[in-house]
Amino acid sequence: MLMYLARRTLLMIPTLLIISLLIFLIIKLPPGDYLSNQIAELRAQGETSAMERAEFLRTQYALDRSIMEQYAIWMGFIPGPNGFSGILQGDWGWSFEYNRPVGELIGDRLLMTAIINVFTILFIYAVAFPIGVYSATRQYSWGDYGFTLFGYIGLATPNFLLALVMLYYSNIWFGVSIGGLVDPELIDAPWHWDKIRSMMVHMIVPVIVIGTSGTAAMIRRLRANLLDELQKQYVTTARAKGLPPLRLLVKYPIRMALNPFISDIGNLLPSVVSGSVIVSVVMSLPTAGPMLLGALQSLDQYLAGSFLMFLALLTVVGMLVSDVLLALLDPRIRLTGGQAK
C-alpha cells in the first residue's frame, strides 16, 4: 500500500505545481491589476499622496516585474522585495482590498467553509445512500417514483432560489434569523455553547440547500449502479442457492455499487465549495465563496490566487483520498476489450 501511495503522490506534486502556474496566469489575464485600477481612480480625483502610496505598494509587492517573476515570488522560488516570502515559506501574500495579510484574512473563512462542507457531504451521503438503495431494490414502485421526482426537482431547482424559500420559512416557522451563520448578537462574542448552538441551527438551511443537488445526483448514480449489479448472474446464482435477500444485498451488490461514493469524494469537495458561492452570497455566510468572488472581481491577485490554490489542493488531496480508499475497497483487475482495467 505504501508503494501505491508513493507512486500516487508522485503524480500529485507536479500536478499542483502546474495548477499553481495556471492559476496565476489566469488571474493575470485581465488587463491591469488592483493597484492600476486604484491609481486610475485616484488620478481622476487628483489625490497625489495616495497615488504615491499605490506606487510604493506596486514596488513593494513586485507588481512592476514580469508575470513569471511575480509567480516565482508568490510561490517563494525567488526572493522578492522582502526576501523569500511566498507560499513555500507560509506567506500567502497581501490583500490589497482588505489591506491585510491573506493568511490572516482567509483563516476563519476557510474554517467555516470546511465545517459547512463536511456537514454538507455527510448530509449528501446520509440521505442519498438509503434512498438510492431503496429506489434500486424497489424499482418502479410508488416510493421509487416519488424519490425519482424528488431527485429531478433537486437537480432542477437553482440553489439560490431554494435558499431564499428556506430562509423565509425557517424564519416564519422556527424563528431562525435570516442570513449569517450565527445570531447577529453573537457574531463578535467569544466561542461558547450558545454560539455553537446558534451556529448548528443556522447551518441546517445552508447544508440542505448546498447539498440538495449533490444528493439528487448521488441518488441517481447509486440507483443506476445498484440496478446494474442486481441484474448480474452472481446475484441470480446467490438467490437460487437460497442466500437471504438482505445478506445478499449487503455482502455483494452494495459493496460494488459503493465505488462511486468513494470515487466522488475528490469531485465532491471542490464542487461543493465552488457551488456554494452564490448560496453564500444570498445567505450572507462568512465562507470563502463570497470573498473569492470579490477578489476575482477586484483583481486582488494574491487573495484570489490563494483561494484558488486552496481549492486545487482540496481537489488533488480529495482525489488522492478517494483513490487510496478505492484501492483498499476494490482491489480487482477490470477487463475491458481484453485489457487489464
Partner: protein, 163 residues
Amino acid sequence: MTRLYYPLSRLWPDYLRAGGGLAICMGLVLFAAPQSVIFTVLVGLSLLFAWLGAVTAWRQQIEIELDTTGVVRRGWGRTVALPWPTLKAVTLRYYSTRRDRSEGWLQLVIEAEGGTLRVDSNLIGFPSLVERAFAAAGQNGVAISETSRLNAGRLHSVEGNQP
C-alpha cells in the same frame, strides 16, 4: 526448485520515481521555511520517496526459492521460510494509479508460520508462485477471498503489462 527474482529492467521505473520524487521534494524543501506546515509535508514526502528507493534496492537483491515443500526468501535481513503445510492466508490485490485502472500491478501476500512474504507482479515467475500458493491454500482448506480468486483468474492480463 525454481528461483524467482526482480530484474533491473522491471525495477528502474521505481528507481526513477524514487529519485524524481526525492529531487522535487528536497528541491522544494530548500525554499520552504523550516517552521511552516509545507516544510513538514515536504520532509514527510521526501521520506516516503527515500523509502520507495530503499525498498526498490531491497527488492533488487532478494531471491525467492520455490519448490513443492514451500517458499523461501533470501537477501538482506531475515530469511523467511514458509512451508506450504503451515500456510494461513493468501491474498492477491491489484493496484493502479490510473483512473481507468490500466497498467497496474498485483501484490501477493502469503502468510504462514515462518512469517509473511510480500511480492509484486514485477517478479520474474510471479504466476508460478501465485499458482503454487493458491494450490497450497486449496490443500490446507484456507479460504481465499473472491477478489483474490478473480485477480488470479485474470493474471494473464497483467503479465507483460508492467509499468
